[in-house]
Amino acid sequence: MVKNRKPEQNLRPLETFDDSAKKLRQIFMNLASDIAESKPPVLRIPVRTASNTVYDENRKILTLGERVSERRFNDISEVRSFMQTLLLARGIYEALQHDDHPTIRDLYYYTLHTIEGTNIETFNSQDESNNIFQDIEVMTGLLREQMGVVAESRGALVGDVVLQSKGNKIDCSKFGIGAFNIPSLCDQIQIVSVDAEYVLVVEKDAIFQRLNDYEFWRRNKCVLITGKGQADRATRRMVRRLNEEWGLPVYVLTDADPFGWYIYSTYRAGSISLSYESFRLACPEAKFLGLTMTDLEKYEVPKDHLIKANEMDIKRAKELLVRDQKTKKPRYPWFYDSKRWRQEIHLFLERRVKAEIEAKSSKGFRFLSDVYLPEKLASKDWIV
């Protein structure tokens, strides 16, 4: 139905790494001219802490606030991180120039050396290097993917989708019981055509494999995606692209517990730790399909299939309804401002039980794919 909805020549052009290299260079050229004019060398880095994470009501995503920290060369406590920032930026720049796509671990080793005249290493650990890497991302406004830096990825996609990469067409409906692994640099892939009505994101890889086995996606005209737990950047980016470029609605299927809700929340509005990239990753239109607390009653999940909620679950659930102490605004407005969500959370806090998707199998192995999902979608029984 939606196949070839866009003619090929109208496809969004791929981002080139040359642009990133130029941008990176420009930022440090500015720093160099400051130094040449004897101005104190300063790097201005947006603050990445939770306190500087705000909810953008218009775009309905989490994003970085306006607070910016200054990293000064001539401050004894900052000179080391100043050096590390430049060192890592140089590594990234050199990789971009040679069209190399290193991992952040590659970059760590590439930039790790003993500082001349001392027995001090440039980085004490990769954590330190990773932290600086994120600083560079927020400072330059260039995301890791835009700088061609690869990280581990684990998302998978299957459905009537044709992708194009390095001149090869990839038909995502022809993986059999396998699936297309969404690569870290997923923006380097063009989505050539899509024949689907919606995107179904499932939390668990096992459920994904089962639905794929039944060819749920073919029968229900959808694209099936999993992030295998908390989604990585590439998976979220792919979901966003399918939504943005192809106008597909997105439904999320997780376990019926606060952890599942968090996973949904990340797809929808972004996470606090990576709030600076929500603008490319978050998908505010994503809807929560299930399992809902009300489903547990509605579909009569037997009591002994329910799991007692632990303290961590309760704590997380309560957090979803918390207001920020300073701003007095709800910390998760998309939960707090939704009547259905409040009901769900209160129900959970009342019963103190949770359930896995697999609990549906008590009614038969195909209950999830043949009954539950079609019914839910047909009756539009999702939470926005």
């Binding site: 720093l31 004897s38 101005k39 000179v79 140089r90 001349e116 001392t118 440039t122």
Partner: protein
């Protein structure tokens, strides 16, 4: 050649004295042995009565040399030099000339053998006999008085005055002569010339201790290289130790206006070693003033004696007003009434104890305090610089004069911190750790021995030097390359025991000393903080430099600009930040220290030193304690 001399076995004398007190008996015992015993029966009292006779001071001296500081050859050598130099400096002071004293100590081949209690098995020790020559440019002694002055114990000018002087009674020289003739059998040779005499007078004499009178060996008129002065030559047995040099050094420290030259030949035939301390300044210290005693400083016995010997006063009131300081007519009446005596009664009727009690309760004014002759803060600083030319930091502090029991005194302190010459004077505890050293001065004369019993030393240990950034074990000397100089001047230095080099405890002295040492501590702390800031700054610079190199390389790759240029500019940016900082908070930056480590001593106004002392210590950030390595991490 070894000469065995029976009498001067000091240790044995000391023991004899313990058995028979007072010492008169010891002398009498000898007489008993010399004369045949009477055959008729006598009562014990009669036997005792026959032994009794007056003892003269010279005899007393001969038998109690230990008490006077001549206990053993080591002490005796230092003590002899001390007594002679004291006299020399006092003679110069009396005349108001800048002292120029030379001391020559030459070991001869002559030996002196003694059983000392220092060796466990009581074996004989052999010491060399030294020829000691002390020459000064003082006022000299009148020809007519020379023999009496040097040859008769308790004859001198100082005993009768109540003013600050080095020797307590000026009697030490007699003890030295007696010690010399006991150990070497040689007479003293005294050459002296006053300003008015055309030629010097040379006397060779011994002291007849039985008669307490000089025995002239010879006397003649000779030439003298100086316009006036005295030269004393003695032959004494001695044990030459480092203490002698220390003594000369510390004496010159206490007397910055004196030119002291010390030549020593420690072993016969050796090359002479010369120490020459040229004067640090040309300013004569103010001469000490003579005052009448304060009633509170009187011992009952001494007061009784004064009362009994008085011939000039008709009434008790007159006696008090005339002989004591700070007693007005009204005060005298008040005191006498309080002691139950009419002011018009003759002095003989004074009840000594009642009068002293009245004085203690009678709210007497302190004695006049401007009678002392302190070293002076500036002079002391110059003096320390002369001895420790490479000290990193030198500071001094002094208290206003004060009094204890009616006796005026004044405390001055000084310190030399760091530098090779200071380190050499400190005890090395372990690699790089030194125990500081205390130099004690009493009336500008060093106290070499008995530090453990001395108040001046104890108070230094009492101070919590940790407050001033100096490491210290509780109740010990600070562990730092540091020499602390403690000076007490007084019209009467309260020695704990005669002949001891130790000052007795007096709360007033302790308090003044404590306050002086505390302000000294603050100055040292100021310096250490300043140095720490400097080190911190150097540290900072090196850290920036290390990182700037890295950054310049990265910047050069990123921008294609010249690496060296970027590095230069980066290093510049650190300096400009410092300038900006000093412009905003000038107080944070330490003023240049008035004393620089390498340069010559610079007279510096006291204010500056105070300023350093007031610099607040830098904020105790964790960073400060970091090593470079930790810093970089």
């Amino acid at each position: 050649m070894v000469e065995a001399i029976p009498t001067p076995d000091i240790g044995a004398q000391g023991k004899a004295q313990k058995k028979a007190t007072p010492s008169v008996k010891a002398g009498a015992a000898k007489r008993k042995r010399a004369k045949p015993v009477h055959k008729e029966l006598l009562t014990a009292a009669e036997i005792e009565a026959r032994k009794m006779r007056a003892v003269n001071p010279a005899q007393y001296y001969r038998q109690n040399l230990g008490q006077l500081g001549f206990g053993d050859p080591e002490h005796a050598l230092v003590q002899t030099i001390k007594e002679l130099m004291d006299n020399s400096l006092d003679a110069c002071e009396a005349m108001g000339v800048l002292p120029e004293v030379s001391v020559e100590l030459t070991a001869t081949t002559k030996k002196y053998e003694v059983v000392t209690n220092k060796t466990k098995d009581g074996s004989v020790r052999i010491f060399p006999v030294f020829k000691l020559v002390v020459e000064d440019n003082g006022c000299g002694v009148l020809k007519s008085k020379v023999a009496k002055c040097f040859g008769s114990v308790l004859y001198g000018s100082k005993f009768f005055s109540f003013k600050q002087s080095r020797g307590q009674q000026g009697l030490g020289v007699h003890a030295a002569i007696i010690y010399a003739q006991l150990t070497s059998l040689e007479p003293a040779v005294i050459t002296t010339k006053t300003e008015s005499d055309p030629k010097a007078f040379r006397v060779v004499l011994k002291i007849d201790t039985e008669k307490n009178s000089p025995v002239l060996v010879s006397s003649e008129e000779v030439d003298f290289p100086r316009p006036h002065g005295t030269r004393v030559e003695l032959m004494i047995a001695g044990d030459y130790t480092q203490k002698v040099e220390s003594f000369i050094k510390e004496l010159s420290l206490a007397n910055p206006h004196a030119d002291l030259k010390f030549t020593v030949v420690a072993q016969p035939g050796q090359e002479p070693k010369v120490l020459h301390f040229k004067r640090a300044n040309e300013t004569l210290p103010p001469p000490p003033k003579e005052i009448r005693p304060h009633l509170l400083s009187m011992e009952p016995g001494a007061l009784l004696e004064m009362r009994s010997n008085d011939t000039c006063c008709a009434t008790a009131k007159q006696f008090l007003v005339r002989h004591f300081v700070r007693i007005s007519e009204a005060k005298a009446e008040e005191l006498l009434k309080a002691s139950g005596l009419a002011p018009s009664s003759p002095p003989k009727e004074i009840d000594v104890e009642a009068l002293l009690k009245a004085a203690r309760e009678g709210d007497l004014m302190r004695p006049p305090l401007d009678v002392l002759s302190p070293i002076g803060e500036d002079a002391l600083r110059q003096s320390i610089r002369r001895i420790y030319p490479d000290a990193e930091f030198i500071c001094t502090a002094s208290r206003e004069p004060w009094s204890y029991r009616g006796v005026p005194f004044q405390i001055e302190v000084g310190a030399a911190y760091g530098g090779q010459s200071v380190i050499e004077d400190c005890e090395r505890v372990k690699e790089g750790v030194f125990k500081s050293r205390v130099i004690r001065l009493a009336n500008k004369c060093p106290l070499i021995y008995d530090s453990k019993d001395c108040l001046l030393y104890k108070v230094v240990k009492e101070i919590n030097w940790r407050n001033y950034k100096l490491p210290q074990d509780e109740g010990n000397l600070p562990m730092a390359p540091l020499v602390i100089i403690v000076s007490l001047v007084s019209t009467k230095v309260p020695y704990s025991v005669p002949g001891k080099f130790a000052v007795a405890y007096h709360e007033e002295i302790r308090e003044q000393l404590r306050l002086a040492l505390q302000s000294l501590g603050r100055m040292i702390q100021g310096y250490i903080s300043h140095r720490q800031r400097q080190e911190h700054e150097q540290h900072r610079q090196s850290i920036f430099q290390i990182y700037a190199k890295e950054i310049a390389r990265d910047m050069s790759v990123l921008t294609g600009q010249d690496q060296a240029l970027i590095f230069e500019k980066l290093m510049e940016s650190i300096k400009s930040k410092q300038r900006a900082k000093t412009a905003h908070k000038p107080k944070q930056e330490a003023p240049t220290l008035p004393i620089n480590a390498s340069g010559p001593p610079q007279p510096c106004p006291e204010k500056k030193v105070e300023e350093i002392a007031k610099i607040p210590p830098p904020p105790k950030t964790k960073k400060q304690q970091f090593t470079l390595e930790e810093y970089l991490r």
